[in-house]
Amino acid sequence: MKILVITELRQGKWNNTSFETLVAAQQIAVTTSSTVSALVIGKGVAALAEELAAKNVAEVLLVEHDLLEAYTPDGYCVALKQVIESSKPELVLFPHTYQVRDFAPKLAAMLGKGMIGDCIGYRNEGGKLVFVRQMFQGKTAADVTFAGVAPWFASFQSGAFRSDLLAAHPSGKAAVNKVAVTLNAAQIRTKPLELFKEAKSAVDLTQAPLIVAIGRGIKAPENIPLAQALAKAIGGEIAASRPICDEGWLPMERQIGSSGQTVAPKLYLALGISGAIQHVVGMKGARTIVAINKDANAPIFEIADYGVVGDIFEIMPALTEELQKTKS
């Protein structure tokens, strides 16, 4: 089988999840005796293609065009469809980034194919690849297989594979092959404008050693002082899941997760947070994770070192008191 990995750049630099997906491809290739090709797309990205060629890949495909300088879903779909038709991979793998979510399902559909998105792993069951993804907001996992004939498309969630396991090329360098694509401006219907961040405040959660994070279990903004008191007692910063920031109960720079901050504190105390994957990718690097949740089946417990199944409104004040006691 021929596996093609579509890598992603972010403002001219590697998006690290590209390498994670390349690791996934290398591992799948070993169990299925396949070859791995890696693709770089953009404008003026030849140097990055050369860099990729030093990894353990059979070849690097370099797709360059003036109209691919900035990402657009139309530009990527038109260009990558041509590449897939000419290079004929059986399995096309992507990192599950916001950009991939934006075009890959359509690219697959243009070829009459489907994509298994947001996978967290795979298994090779007697030659048949089984992809594992989450359903019901992480409360269940699902085994998903492809039906019909190749090419098949799948994307892997960030953190599903370790990029440091990326194998180098055994004998130096793979070939970099340029693939010409035809693309005209009229095919690109949306116009990407500037990238920006909203005004940033002084808090840098990435530097905070102790984080107390609240989720929808906090129920109402009136209850937030309870969590803030706990954060103060422990000497940590307060943070939150997305719904809390969406409601405006805490500012967005305190949001942890794929759209917000990625943190790796010594301690992450999750209060009333269910543990959806988009939240977990932002905090699973924490050294010690404590989860307090009234639902014993909440996915957050899968990654917790210490768990308390209970009501945060009972435990928060008790914990604050205990911390104050031990301090004095």
């Binding site: 139309d74 979510r101 699902a142 998903v144 969406d246 639902d295 210490y306 004040p317 031990t326």
Partner: protein
């Protein structure tokens, strides 16, 4: 501006899920409007209030989804289309999008809105697939829509706190992110008015969609734990004391 909003009904957030093969047991649990879809509906209603036109709610699923359709009508959608299908949970993303696209094609619309992801299947694909099938431009993870001179200026969410502005012509398909607006509640007046609004029910078979499934969910299961979690039990006071002790002397993080 005529807008179709795709609204999926999903198990309620706190519903206890009982697994049955590759789906869940649907009896005994509550259902609700998929969260990002309620934001998409709100956005559609606001666009209509500004620019005129009609808001059509479109939902595929078994009879139960009528309840969510009625909620959308009570909030202000003008009419609704129900694609009746007891087996919709077995469809792959492309199959599901093909059915929705076939229903959309029968209408004259300027904008199709979807949520960016469903809380049950969580494919995160439907909006993008609809754009492909309807041959319309699209954008996803949208946090702001401004319409002027027949085109839209959009704010698209990127990772790690970044955003991007995008210009997109109409008609188009947009996937809406949670938090784009503050959703309204249905008023009593709205609930009464909804009773007179039209819900056109069509079966999925009658749409004549063809095409084989591209993937199959073999089974679903409770995820296997990768970490050993130490559970602390007792009264809140006892739990607090144990936890502080663990964090101090075992994990040594405080």
């Amino acid at each position: 501006m005529n807008i179709i909003v795709c609204i999926k009904q999903v198990p309620a957030k706190d519903a206890p899920l009982a697994i049955a093969g590759n789906w869940i047991k649907e009896s005994d649990i509550g259902f609700e409007m998929n969260e990002p879809d309620s934001f998409a509906l709100e956005e559609a209603l606001r666009l209509k209030e500004k620019h005129g036109g009609e808001v059509i709610a479109l939902s595929m699923g078994p009879e139960r989804v009528k309840q969510t359709i009625k909620e959308a009508l009570a909030k202000g959608a003008d009419r609704a289309i129900h694609i009746a299908d007891d087996n919709f949970a077995q469809l792959d993303p492309l199959g599901s999008a093909r059915a929705l696209a076939a229903a959309i094609q029968k209408e004259k619309v300027d904008l199709v809105l979807t949520g960016l992801q469903s809380d049950d299947h969580g494919f995160g694909q439907t909006g993008v697939l609809l754009a492909g099938l309807l041959n319309l431009p699209h954008a996803t993870i949208i946090m702001q829509i401004e319409v002027a001179d027949g085109k839209m200026r959009l704010k698209r969410e990127l990772e790690a706190g970044w955003f991007q502005h995008i210009e997109c012509p109409l008609p188009a398909v947009l996937s809406i992110q949670s938090g784009i607006n503050k959703v309204r509640y249905a008023t009593l007046k709205g609930i009464m008015a909804a009773k007179k609004k039209e819900i056109a029910t069509i079966t999925r078979e009658s749409l004549g969609v063809t095409g084989e499934a591209t993937q199959k969910i073999e089974k679903i299961y409770v995820p296997t734990k990768t970490k050993r979690t130490e559970y602390l039990t007792g009264t809140p006071k006892e739990v607090a004391a144990k936890l502080v002790e663990k964090l101090k002397f075992e994990a040594r993080v405080i």
